[in-house]
Subunit: 143 residues, 2 copies
Amino acid sequence: MATEKFSTYSYLLDRTNRKIKQYAQQKFKEENFDITVDQWLILKNLSIHNDQNQSQLAELTGKDHPTLTRILDLLCKKGLVERKAAPNDRRSFNIHLTEFGIQKQKEWAPKVAEARMKAWENLTEQDYEDLKRILNTIYQSLS
Amino acid sequence: MATEKFSTYSYLLDRTNRKIKQYAQQKFKEENFDITVDQWLILKNLSIHNDQNQSQLAELTGKDHPTLTRILDLLCKKGLVERKAAPNDRRSFNIHLTEFGIQKQKEWAPKVAEARMKAWENLTEQDYEDLKRILNTIYQSLS
DNA sequence: TATTAATAATTAGTATGACAAATATAATGA
DNA sequence: TCATTATATTTGTCATACTAATTATTAATA
């Protein structure tokens, strides 16, 4: 295969990734969700795996530690999330949703799911499986 | 299809996209290319379509205008690119590679192509076609 | 022609991401 | 126990992305 064409997929991936985020963010704005797409990812994960420390949460969400620290700072400021000192390790915090955070996560989830679905309206179940497989294969090849 | 699973693709896409950039950037560093992955995209496009104005270049590369302005500022500072006043429209510039820029673009291209290839080593030609089709379909569904 | 609208580029503010370095604490081993 | 090493988190810096606003210029039109 010609090497040249391999510039293309990275361009398409980057462009599509930005479009997906942009689209979801626009929907959030229309619904007056006071949150970013990346912040939502953290909320969503906390709704499933509560009381993770930041390292675990970083691993789950694929964010690096400095980025996670800053996203959590913002979520705390919005009152959606709290850091609680870990009982047996004074270096770390357990991160958990506040009552307000739980409420908002539940409130926002359906609209988020709806926005996510939109991307898929002209594709098939098989496409979905193929995309997952291809992306995971790429990820592993570069890891 | 369950709506819930549609969180997954956006996560995988974002994660894979970051990995691809990170991998390429790492290779650039190893080779002492004084350039970022996004800056390379602009150089590469200029090597094919020289003397574009910034709007055209933004369109070609999928960057928005403020981002392109800043990337060009950096490329100019590195002496790889120049803004030249457009002859018939005093609002706009024609962007072109300098001699140094042409030289570096040619010098770096093979290693970039090699780094790009790496992602693909466990995938097929058909996967490549599928990925392109799926990404373009998503992009269009959200546009 | 004078006014208004459109376009090209920039600037400003905020968020995210990568990387390196710093801080605090915990675990390990001589 | 003391020194070293490892781990959890934060801070700093630079680059990119998005939005909104600004500036300069051109085009359109009343």
